[in-house]
């Protein structure tokens, strides 16, 4: 993997999300919100506000949809974990 990132962040697939809000409730930093927009299935999907994620992984583990949430943890540079 050659991707690198400075801060942890979640990636939510707006099309796969079913808008159940479990992740919103589980986020300790309240940085997930339900979008006012609908996805193609008619769900108001969950969105990351863009900053404040601490990489706890809660949204990943609480989300019932296998591929809706990906969380990039910590400050990751290829080959090393800090």
């Amino acid at each position: 993997m050659n991707k690198q990132w400075e801060y942890p962040y979640p990636e939510i697939d707006p099309d796969i999300c079913k808008g159940c809000k479990l992740c919103v409730a589980a986020c300790p930093k309240n940085v997930l919100v339900i979008s006012s927009k609908l996805n193609s299935k008619g769900f108001h999907y969950s969105e990351y506000v863009g900053e404040g994620c601490i990489g706890c992984g809660n949204c990943f583990y609480v989300c019932p949809e296998p591929s809706a949430v990906t969380v990039y943890l910590r400050n990751y540079v290829e080959g090393e974990v800090s």
Binding site: C20, K21, A25, E65, S67, V69, L73, Y76
Partner: protein
């Protein structure tokens, strides 16, 4: 294991759900907020982390998780309702090195499959059972399950579950904890992050135990069914906490793995010769008596019926044995039941050159009726032109059918003249030999040591005589 840098869809899942019909091969069929998806993810993650995806076989139940096989990149079976532990047993026994997961809902496991789970647990099958307790039948629209709470409204308990008419919520962990064999029994919940993480630990522990062949693990997971409960997912988590947990306390009921070694099952005996030996058939030989191709009966489909105690089963067994000695294919199928206590008992016997399919004679070509009720019951089953031997000592009503051949033999009377009504059986064997022409009475007599192994010479002689008398009677009169 190295620390993860990314949490993403675990490899325990299929990349694309190619077995799922329709176009949505990138998402599950579960309702928003359904606990099944969360547990699926924890399982799929553990399978990936332990690198055991390829040796895992998952048994899907009937219920909302019926399609688990769309999602898991493991070996998959889908079992009949409640039968996942039985299917899992077969899979585990046949593939002792595999990790077997039985994934079941509470309707599936605790209602229709209630006994299946108890028996598999009691045998300590090497498998993990994930038991999703959502207090309801989800798939069929929210009916009462065995785990439904007291007072809980469901579509089948519109006034709330009333223990007086509907019983109490069944606590499956506590029930299974009465058994000796299970190694790990725990109840966890998905109602908040701390408990999802505890569930994750339980999932991982159970899968690890299975890979170490520690035996039977049972992980009950309290799980949201927002659709069935008619509330949003977050409220459903709250409902678990407030309503379910008081009834289903979260705890590890048993964790004995420390003291348990890997299960080593006795090696099954599969060698036919070995099986024959244990059953005492290793010295069994056909007599070499010549079959008589010209006999009127190429295929015997016989029903022997009478009172319990009239030697009905013995007649059947004797004839089947005789047939086998002559190298025919034979079958013997007893029909017991309440009839053991009087009434009619009966058995089906087939003796034929060809191999035998069904052992039951639903359309017999021959009936031996030892009493009136048997005559009434089985005469009508005979095929046209079939033969009815009936015990004229005890039956004084003539058979009614005109399209069959009738052969009254005073079976009980002949036996009584010989001084022992227990030889009725052999009288009817003699009569059978005369009617079918399949065996010679002398040949049958030569088999007495087999048929009456362990009996005295006197008993054998008496039975030989009985065969002869039955035979002679038929020869003389028909």
């Amino acid at each position: 294991m190295a620390q993860k840098t990314v949490l993403r869809k675990p490899k325990g899942f299929m990349d694309v759900y190619k077995h799922k019909p329709g176009t949505e091969k990138d998402r599950t069929h579960y309702c928003p907020g359904c606990g099944h998806g969360i547990l699926h993810k924890l399982i799929a993650e553990a399978l990936e982390d332990f690198a055991v995806i390829d040796k895992t076989i998952l048994i899907s139940p009937v219920g909302c998780s019926v399609f688990a096989y769309y999602y898991f990149d493991t070996g998959n079976f889908q079992a009949a309702h409640g039968r996942a532990p039985a299917v899992g047993t077969a899979v585990s026994r046949a593939n002792p090195d595999s990790i077997v997961i039985s994934y079941q809902g509470d309707g599936d496991l605790a209602a229709i499959g209630g006994n299946n789970i108890l028996q598999a647990a009691n045998r300590g099958e090497n498998m993990v059972v994930f038991f999703v307790n959502n207090a309801i039948y989800g798939m069929t629209g929210g009916q009462m399950a065995p785990t439904t709470l007291e007072g809980q409204k469901t579509t089948t308990t519109p006034y709330g579950r009333n223990p007086l008419s509907d019983g109490y919520p069944m606590q499956m962990c506590e029930l299974l904890n009465q058994l000796t064999a299970p190694v790990y029994i725990t109840r966890t919940s998905l109602h908040d992050m701390a408990n999802i993480r505890k569930t994750r630990q339980a999932v991982r522990k159970a899968i690890r135990y299975a890979s170490e062949k520690k035996g039977f693990s049972f992980v009950e997971v309290l799980s949201m069914c927002p659709s069935g409960w008619k509330m949003d997912a977050v409220r459903a988590q709250q409902w678990i906490k407030e309503k379910m947990i008081p009834r289903f306390p979260l705890m590890v009921l048993r964790d004995n793995a420390e003291n348990t070694g890997p299960i080593e099952r006795p090696v099954p005996v599969l060698d036919p010769e070995e099986v024959k030996k244990v059953l005492g058939y290793d010295t069994f030989e056909t007599t070499g008596f010549k079959k008589r191709p010209g006999t009127m009966f190429r295929k015997v489909a016989l029903r022997v019926a009478g009172f319990g105690g009239q030697g009905i089963m013995s007649t059947g067994i004797a004839l089947a044995n005789v047939g086998m000695k002559y190298g025919y294919n034979v079958s013997w199928l007893p029909s017991y039941g309440p009839e053991m206590r009087g009434g009619t008992a009966n058995c089906s016997v087939k003796i034929q050159e060809d191999s035998i399919g069904a052992a039951e004679c639903t359309e017999p070509n021959m009936v031996i009726a030892m009493n009136q009720p048997s005559l009434e019951k089985f005469e009508k089953l005979l095929v046209p032109d079939g033969i009815l031997i009936y015990n004229s000592t005890l039956i004084d009503v003539e058979p009614s059918r005109k399209d069959i051949r009738v052969c009254p033999v005073p079976i009980t009377g002949i036996a009584d003249e010989l001084g022992d009504t227990r030889v009725q059986s052999m009288v009817s064997v003699g009569a059978f030999a005369a009617v079918t022409g399949m065996f010679d009475p002398e040949e049958i007599k030569s088999l007495m040591p087999t048929l009456f192994a362990g009996k005295s010479e006197k008993v054998r002689k008496l039975n030989e005589e009985a065969v002869q008398k039955g035979y002679d009677h038929v020869k003389r009169n028909f």
